[in-house]
Amino acid sequence: MKKIIQLTINGGPVEAAVSPNQTLVQFLRDDLGLTGTKHGCGLGDCGACTVILDGKAVNSCLVLAVQANGSDVLTIEGLAENGNLHPLQQAFVNKGAIQCGFCTPGMILSAKALLDEKPNPTEPEIRTAISGNLCRCTGYQKIVEAIGEAANVIRGREEL
């Protein structure tokens, strides 16, 4: 039997009926058309489905949609503001931290959760923060650099 859930997604209210065995990533992609969140391994190994759930980066393939009832969800679609890319997105573009792009939404959301908690992370902290996100193209170095650059940009903005 379907259950009604009410939650906030990318700042807006959403109400929907979901099956208990539907995961959050399936709900986001199949029901809401938010296909920025990728469905990778489905087992919590690759991190492609990472979203921010109530302030914390999680694998949305290991969260039931019903478990997100009443929660606040941020996906890659919710990062840009007024048509401008988020500093993390811009830094990934600038540094060439994107190749095939499949891991990118998850990488950026893991990085966002880190910067929300630690605006000035060390390189080991950056590497730990994205350690649950696999990338098979870039070798991670440019991703780490992009996150460092985005941190500088965000801190610079806040100082203004």
Partner: protein
């Protein structure tokens, strides 16, 4: 990877959760963080017909200091909470370190200590840490409650003494004596998202700074069907002056107690060598922390 169908329950009180557990019988499973259970369901290793979610049951994720004599940890406390909690890091170090090595940040934000214990995987991170701290587990059902020392909790891979109608409702850990220090070392082929090849938790207590060892606890994971305490190595250490030589000898004794297997993660021979090395290394780290103990 799709989940098979199941019925979903979201009790809002502990009483309701226990009643559901008792009424639904053996084919219902408790859903906490879901990082293990949902994976096992997707892989069709487990096929529960009902899931009882704990997310609406109040108070289960609390970490509550009990004056100076201990801490009560809710079973739904996440690995991330435990690894960052100041009290846990300071006084119950092996739990904080083991929680910080479990999975990856995205997993730690969901995975719970209760789930890690109840799933009883031989290579799990938190069981050895709870064992060296002599945690007591409180199990509750509609019929009553009982307390089990964590050392008597595990029966085999995936098996514990918990009955189908029982819920792990809290853990209590007594604060280690002054001049105690803890350590946890996990060995795998990579740093994160790894299942241990061998893991070692240690708690060492000194009589005074620079003094003799008055208490030692060593627990090893992934070396036997359940995590095991290395009692003979502990007894060897008690009453001795800490030194690298003594720690190395304790490591050698520890190996004798294990029955590691050869699998794709490592051979039996390699595991034995690593038990010895990691035990003595963990003792050294615990000793350094004991020397730095602050009231």
């Amino acid at each position: 990877m799709l989940l098979p169908k199941f019925e979903y329950f979201e009790p809002t009180t502990l009483e309701e959760a226990l009643r559901l557990l008792s009424e639904l019988g053996g084919n219902a499973r408790v859903l906490a963080g879901g990082t293990d259970l949902l994976v096992r369901m997707k892989l069709k290793v487990e096929r529960p017909s009902q899931l009882i979610s704990l997310r609406k049951v109040p108070g289960l994720s609390a970490i509550i200091p009990r004056d100076n004599h201990g801490v009560t940890i809710g079973p739904a406390a996440t690995a991330a909470d435990l690894s960052k909690n100041e009290l846990i890091c300071d006084r119950f170090t092996p739990i904080a370190l083991a929680a910080g090595r479990l999975g990856a940040p995205v997993i730690r934000n969901r995975a719970t200590i209760g789930g890690n214990l109840v799933n009883a995987r031989p290579a799990a991170d938190l069981p050895p840490a709870c064992m060296v701290l002599d945690a007591t587990l409180k199990l509750k059902s509609t019929h009553g409650e009982r307390e089990i020392p964590v050392g008597e909790f595990f029966r085999g891979p995936g098996e514990t003494v918990i009955e189908p109608n029982e819920l792990l409702v809290s853990l209590f850990v007594e604060t280690p004596a002054p001049w105690s220090g803890g350590a946890y070392i996990k060995l795998g082929a990579r740093k994160t998202l790894e299942i241990s090849m061998v893991n070692v938790a240690v708690l060492l207590t000194l009589q005074e700074p620079q003094g003799l060892i008055v208490d030692a606890k060593i627990a090893l994971g992934a070396v036997a069907p359940t995590p095991v305490r290395a009692f003979a190595a502990e007894e060897f250490l008690i009453g001795r002056q800490p030194s690298e030589k003594v720690f190395a000898e304790a490591g050698a004794i520890g190996v004798g107690l294990c029955q590691p297997i050869t699998d794709h993660r490592g051979t039996m021979e390699y595991r034995c060598l690593m038990i010895e090395t990691l035990t003595s290394r963990a003792l050294k780290q615990a000793h350094e922390r004991a020397l730095g103990w602050k009231p």
